[in-house]
C-alpha cells in the first residue's frame, strides 16, 4: 500500500459492501433524519411551542406532560423548544464549517493533482500537517485569544476539515487527469483552469458530496463538544452541547435533561454518517457484493 492510498484510508470511513436494497435503506434512514432535523430547525424560525428566552420560575424542572412534552429545564424553559432552536446552531455551524472546508479543500485537492507530482507531494505533506491540529485544539487556541463564539467555532472546525477534502479530491482528481478526454483537452491546448472546471470538478463532485456529509457529522460532534466546554455557543444561544453542559450539574436531580440533547446529537451524527455511507455506495458502480 503506498503513501497515497494509505492517506485516503485514513480519512475515508471503511467502505460498506451492501446490497442495493441495503443502500437504499441507509440513504432513506440517513436522509430522513437529516431532513427531519432541517425541518425542525426551519420551523423553529417561525414557531416554537414556547419562547426559549422566557424564564418561568413556577415551572422549573417540570417532567414530561401535555403542556411540555419533554419537560422544562432549571429555568422553566420548554425542552422541546430549546432542542428545536438548538438544531439551528448545529446546522449553521455544520453548514458554514463544511462550506469553509470545501471552498479551500476542493481547489487545493484539484491543484495538488494537476501540478507536477513532486509539488503535489509537498502540498499533501503540508495538508497532512493540518491533521495534527484537530478542530478542538484549533478552537481552543482561537478562543483563548478571541473569546468564545459560534463564529470562532465554525472557523476552527472548518479549517480542521480542509485536509480530508483536499485528500479525497486529490485522489479522485488524479484518476480524472489520466482519462483520455483530459489528455485530449490538454493536447487541444485547453488552459489548466478550464480543464479543472470543465472536466475535473464535475467528476469529483460525488466525492465532495460524500465527504461533505461525513464532515458535517464531524462538525456536529465538534460543535457539541465545544459548546459543552463553554467554548462554542455563548450563554443565551440555545445549543445541544450547551444544554448538556447546563444539565450536568443537575445530573442527580434530573438526568433526563442530559438524555434529550444527547439523543439529539447522536441522532444528528448518525443521520449524516448514514447519509454519507449511503451516498458513497450509491455513487459506487461496483455495488453488487462480490461473493
Amino acid at each position: 500500500m503506498n503513501r497515497l492510498s494509505r492517506g485516503a484510508e485514513a480519512v475515508m470511513p471503511p467502505p460498506g459492501r451492501r446490497s442495493r436494497a441495503g443502500v437504499e435503506a441507509t440513504l432513506l434512514v440517513g436522509g430522513g433524519i437529516v431532513a427531519a432535523i432541517t425541518v425542525l430547525a426551519l420551523v423553529s424560525l417561525v414557531w416554537t411551542p414556547y419562547d426559549v428566552g422566557e424564564i418561568n420560575a413556577t415551572e422549573r424542572l417540570a417532567t414530561s406532560s401535555a403542556r411540555h412534552w419533554l419537560g422544562t429545564d432549571k429555568f422553566g424553559r420548554d425542552v422541546v423548544s430549546l432542542l428545536m432552536v438548538g438544531s439551528r446552531t448545529t446546522l449553521l455551524v455544520g453548514l458554514v464549517s463544511v462550506g469553509v472546508a470545501a471552498v479551500i479543500g476542493v481547489p487545493l485537492g484539484i491543484l495538488a493533482a494537476m501540478v507536477p507530482k513532486w509539488w503535489g507531494e509537498v502540498l499533501m505533506r503540508a495538508n497532512d500537517l493540518l491533521l495534527a491540529f484537530p478542530a478542538l485544539l484549533l478552537a481552543i487556541m482561537l478562543t483563548a485569544v478571541h473569546g468564545q463564539g459560534v463564529v470562532t467555532a465554525m472557523i476552527a472546525i472548518g479549517i480542521s476539515s480542509i485536509p480530508s477534502f483536499a485528500r479525497v479530491v486529490r485522489s479522485g482528481a488524479i484518476g480524472v487527469m489520466k482519462t483520455e478526454y483530459v489528455v485530449a483537452a490538454r493536447a487541444a491546448g485547453r488552459r489548466p483552469i478550464a480543464i479543472a472546471l470543465r472536466h475535473v470538478l464535475p467528476n469529483v463532485g460525488s466525492l465532495v458530496i460524500v465527504q461533505a456529509s461525513v464532515s458535517f457529522a464531524i462538525a456536529v460532534l465538534a460543535e457539541a463538544a465545544l459548546s459543552y466546554l463553554g467554548l462554542g455557543a455563548p450563554p443565551g444561544t440555545p445549543s445541544w452541547g450547551r444544554m448538556l453542559q447546563e444539565g450536568q450539574e443537575l445530573l442527580f436531580v434530573a438526568p433526563r435533561l442530559e438524555v434529550f440533547p444527547g439523543v439529539a446529537i447522536a441522532l444528528a451524527v448518525l443521520g449524516f454518517n448514514l447519509l454519507g455511507d449511503g451516498l458513497r455506495d450509491h455513487f459506487d458502480p461496483r455495488l453488487e457484493d462480490r461473493r
Binding site: L129, I140, V145, L251, G262
Partner: protein, 316 residues
C-alpha cells in the same frame, strides 16, 4: 529499510519545525496582546508594558520564537504569565495523568474492536453480524463526553457502583485509582472501540476475499485457522493506520473527558489556561499535544515497516 527510517525521521523533524512555527504564529498573529489578555481589561498601560518587558514580548518575533522553541527542546516551556509558576513541572504532572487515561482507553478500544470486528466480518451475512454493525454505527454517533455523562448517570447516579468524578494517583490508593479510572476510560474506549470495530471489519472482509485465503482453505485449514495464520497480518496495515489516528483523537478527546470527570490532566490545564487567559500555557500545551500527535504518526509509519515487508524498499 534504513533509508526509509531516515526519510520518516526527516519528515517528523520538518513537521515538528513547521507546526511549532504554526502554533507560535497563530498565537502571535491573532489580534490581542498576550500581556493585555493576561491582565484583563482593567490593566493600566504601565502594567501592560511592564509585563511585556518582563516576558520579553518586546523582542523581535523571530527571537521570541527561537527562545520559545529552544526552551521546549530543553524541556523548559517557560513561566506562566498569570501565576508566574514554572510551566514544565505542571505539564509533566498533567501529562502523566492524561497518558494513563489514554492508555487505558486504547486498551479497552482494542480489546473490543479486534474480536467484534473480526466476528462482524466473518458473520457479515448473518443476523449477528448485522446487529453488531448497527450497534457500532450507533457507537460512532455518540461523542465520548456524552457517553461519559450517560455512564455517570447509570453507574454513579442510579446504581452508585462507581464514583462520578475525581482522580487519585495510583501510588496513593490503587483501589480508588482503578474505580475512578474505569468510567472515563470506558467513555473514551467504548466510542473509539466502535469506530475501530468498523475498520477491523472492513479490513478483515477485504482479506477474506483474497486468493491466498482461498488457497489456505483449499489446503484444509478451517476458516478461523486460515484467517489467523494468513489473514490477520494482512488486515493489520489499515487497522494500524486507524489506531494511530485514534490515538491522536484520544489525546484530544481526553481534554473533554477530563472536564466531564474533573480529572487533573493536560486537558484541564489547557482549559484552565484558556479561562485564566494564560496564553503562554495555552501555546505550550497545544504544542505538547501536537508533538504527541506527530510522534504517534511517526511510530505508525515505523510500524508499517515492521508489519509489511513489502514497504521496506523505497519504491519510486
Amino acid at each position: 529499510m534504513l533509508l526509509r527510517i531516515a526519510e520518516r525521521t526527516a519528515v517528523l523533524l520538518v513537521s515538528l519545525g513547521v507546526s511549532s512555527a504554526l502554533v507560535f504564529g497563530f498565537m502571535v498573529l491573532l489580534p490581542g496582546d498576550p500581556a493585555r489578555v493576561a491582565l484583563g481589561v482593567n490593566a493600566t498601560e504601565a502594567d501592560v508594558s511592564r509585563l511585556r518587558l518582563e516576558f520579553g514580548l518586546e523582542r523581535p518575533l523571530v527571537e521570541q520564537y527561537l527562545s520559545w522553541v529552544g526552551g521546549l527542546v530543553h524541556l523548559d516551556p517557560g513561566i506562566s504569565y498569570v501565576s508566574r509558576a514554572q510551566i514544565g513541572p505542571q505539564i509533566a504532572d498533567r501529562l502523566q495523568v492524561s497518558l494513563i487515561l489514554v492508555a487505558a482507553s486504547m486498551t479497552i478500544a482494542v480489546a473490543l474492536a479486534l474480536p467484534f470486528g473480526t466476528l462482524m466480518a466473518v458473520h457479515h451475512r448473518k443476523a449477528s453480524g448485522l446487529v453488531l454493525s448497527a450497534l457500532s454505527q450507533v457507537g460512532v454517533a455518540v461523542p465520548a463526553f456524552l457517553a461519559g455523562i450517560l455512564l455517570i448517570t447509570v453507574f454513579a447516579v442510579q446504581l452508585r457502583w462507581l464514583p462520578a468524578s475525581g482522580w487519585t494517583p495510583p501510588a496513593y490508593d490503587p483501589g480508588m485509582f482503578l474505580q475512578q479510572l474505569l468510567l472515563p476510560a470506558l467513555s473514551l474506549g467504548l466510542v473509539q472501540g466502535a469506530v475501530l470495530t468498523r475498520y477491523v471489519r472492513s479490513a478483515v472482509l477485504d482479506v477474506l476475499r483474497e486468493d491466498f485465503l482461498r488457497t489456505a482453505r483449499a489446503k484444509g485449514l478451517t476458516p478461523m485457522r486460515a484467517l489467523v495464520r494468513h489473514g490477520l497480518r494482512n488486515a493489520a496495515v489499515p487497522v494500524v493506520t486507524v489506531l494511530g489516528l485514534q490515538l491522536a483523537t484520544l489525546l484530544v478527546g481526553a481534554v473533554v473527558i477530563e472536564r466531564v470527570f474533573v480529572i487533573p490532566g493536560l486537558g484541564s490545564l489547557l482549559l484552565d489556561a484558556v479561562g485564566n487567559r494564560d496564553l503562554i500555557v495555552v501555546q505550550d500545551v497545544v504544542m505538547v499535544l501536537v508533538v504527541a500527535v506527530l510522534i504517534v504518526n511517526f511510530v505508525v509509519d515505523l510500524l508499517y515497516l515492521a508489519i509489511d515487508p513489502r514497504l521496506r524498499t523505497v519504491a519510486r
